[in-house]
């Protein structure tokens, strides 16, 4: 629908003391996803990724026995295709010219930039929002946050992995989500910390992971402060230190999460595969309609977000 003067009668004469516009903040204050996601540019319809496993541990060789030769394992493929998002506005020339406040039409680029910023955040953070479902899967084609990610090394890997028995719930698999979702709490954070310390690669070798960001929705703000802000052990009268503080978790509270209770931990960028693929950064274009003289403005972008590997991230839906 075109924007015409009858819909904006208040803007036809000067005199309004102030107009409170939604779109004064063109960038939605700040962009959150680049703090967590790796970013890459693409010039193709899709980008395809492949996982490779290493080899297992050395084997004891009796005197003068021959060496055992093993093979690497080629893992699964993962293809990520950026989708196109676009939006436009059409404003009559009369409205564009008569608007005494320069809002409708003239602010089109600001509005479109704001819409593009919101869209990019939602595309990226939906990896977390949808990460408990089949809408976001990893190389093993299981949901990103899953209790039984299949290791390429199979049961041999979990047989080899130190301490596996206390972590896994099925041989040949490894979790990055508890078998029963746990709410954000001291116990929950300790469990997640152990998951990182015990996390393995596809052959069962510990990868000495350390979480960097604790990602939470606004509803958990006060709990986060209580648990990570207390010098002593939270919720006790004991003179015991808060043993979570040395982990130095950086809380990233974002408004892009749908769940009020789900919380996540993410390792440093080089230790996880959370990725945003930019096929086309937001670009704005303008044109005048020859017949009507209406001004048309539009913005488009092509982008995808994914996390092909499950190592390096942890998530639980909370209670």
């Amino acid at each position: 629908m075109p924007q015409v003067r009858a819909k904006f009668a208040q803007l036809m004469q000067p005199g309004l003391r102030k107009i409170y516009s939604d779109f004064l903040d063109s960038s939605l204050k700040a962009s959150d996803y680049p703090k967590v996601f790796n970013e890459m540019d693409s010039d193709s319809q899709y980008e395809q990724f492949l996982e490779m496993a290493g080899i297992s541990a050395l084997q004891e060789k009796p005197e003068d026995a021959s060496t055992a030769y093993v093979e690497m394992k080629q893992g699964a493929s993962k293809r990520i295709e950026p989708l196109t998002y676009s939006l436009g506005m059409r404003t009559s020339k009369e409205l564009y010219d008569d608007d005494k406040y320069g809002l409708v039409g003239k602010k089109g680029p600001t509005l479109l930039a704001r819409s593009a910023a919101f869209t990019q955040e939602m595309i990226a953070w939906n990896v977390f929002n949808l990460g408990f479902t089949s809408a976001v899967t990893t190389f093993d084609c299981n949901p990103l946050f899953y209790n039984q990610h299949a290791l390429l090394g199979g049961a041999q890997a979990t047989q080899l992995a130190p301490g596996a028995a206390g972590v896994i719930s099925a041989a040949g698999t490894w979790p990055n989500r508890p078998p029963v979702d746990i709410d954000f709490s001291v116990a929950g954070l300790q469990l997640a910390t152990n998951y990182a310390a015990r996390m393995v690669d596809n052959m069962g070798f510990p990868i000495r992971l350390k979480w960097q960001h604790l990602i939470t929705p606004p509803e958990l703000r006060f709990l986060v402060r209580e648990i990570l802000g207390s010098p002593g052990k939270p919720y006790t009268g004991d003179n015991t230190i808060n043993s979570l503080l040395p982990e130095d978790y950086k809380n990233l509270e974002v408004p892009w999460l749908n769940s009020p209770s789900a919380w996540f931990l993410v390792a440093e960028k080089q230790d996880h595969s959370l990725t945003v693929i930019h096929r086309e950064k937001p670009s704005t274009d303008f044109d005048d309609d020859f017949d009507t003289d209406a001004i048309k403005q539009k913005t488009r972008l092509r982008m995808a977000a994914a996390c092909p590997r499950w190592q390096g991230v942890f998530g639980t839906q909370g209670p």
């Binding site: 319809q45 899709y46 395809q48 496993a53 394992k73 080629q74 893992g75 699964a76 493929s77 293809r79 990520i80 295709e81 989708l83 869209t119 939602m122 595309i123 939906n126 949808l130 479902t133 089949s134 809408a135 976001v136 899967t137 190389f139 093993d140 084609c141 299981n142 299949a150 290791l151 390429l152 090394g153 199979g154 049961a155 040949g172 995808a304 977000a305 994914a306």
Partner: protein, 208 residues
């Protein structure tokens, strides 16, 4: 023996728009097991998924003309993006091969395998869009039966799929209650199996 003259026809293509603008295209999740060609009429099945037009539903039966081929999906809409902001949900490939060690759900995708996003892209059959297909006659026996002439402009005919590749042609043998298109021009003139430009009848459009 009465039959169409050609055993293989060509895809239907959109050639002109009365408003001199780009044709209105759309994408909807595809039904399971569809193997239709690009450039054939498609319709929504009773569940709302896109399938090849059945060739017989002439009233509100045609959703559009496909601009993508049938993806042979294992289930309806498999792989379609989780809108509004989710990505493509499946392997994004029409084919996978082999097995992945110890990962029963993992897939191998050969580089270059065409993508599958679980949806059919199609051009809407509104009156603004003018399409083109070959002219033929499923019950023809002489050249005149298979040749469009000036007298065919304005005539209403049906569409029939050939049995070789499944491409549809404007079928002079289908008229009256079996008609779904109206011929509007002979862009290359009158000759045997010449292409004809046509619009879909409003009564044949499934989603206006």
């Amino acid at each position: 023996m009465a039959a169409a003259n050609l055993t293989v026809h060509l895809p239907i293509i959109q050639v002109q728009n009365k408003a001199n603008t780009t044709p209105f295209t759309c994408a909807q999740p595809e039904a399971a097991s569809q193997q239709f060609q690009s450039g054939v009429p498609v319709q929504l099945n009773s569940s709302g998924y896109v399938q090849q037009w059945d060739g017989t539903t002439v009233t509100a039966g045609i959703l559009g003309v496909s601009e993508s081929f049938g993806l042979n999906l294992g289930s309806a809409g498999a792989g379609a993006p989780a809108l509004p902001f989710g990505g493509i949900t499946g392997s994004d490939a029409i084919q996978t091969w082999g097995q992945v060690p110890n990962q029963p759900n993992g897939v191998n995708i050969a580089l270059g395998t065409p993508v599958s996003d679980g949806r059919t892209l199609f051009v809407e059959p509104n009156l603004d869009n003018i399409f083109q297909a070959l002219f033929d006659n499923a019950a023809g026996s002489v050249a005149a039966d298979w040749t469009p002439t000036q007298a065919d402009i304005g005539k209403k005919y049906g569409l029939t799929a050939d049995s070789t590749w499944g491409f549809f042609y404007v079928d002079k043998n289908k008229t009256a209650g079996n008609a779904v298109v109206q011929i509007v021009a002979l862009p290359m003139g009158s000759y045997l199996n010449a292409p004809v430009n046509f619009v879909f009848l409003t009564t044949a459009v499934q989603v206006a």
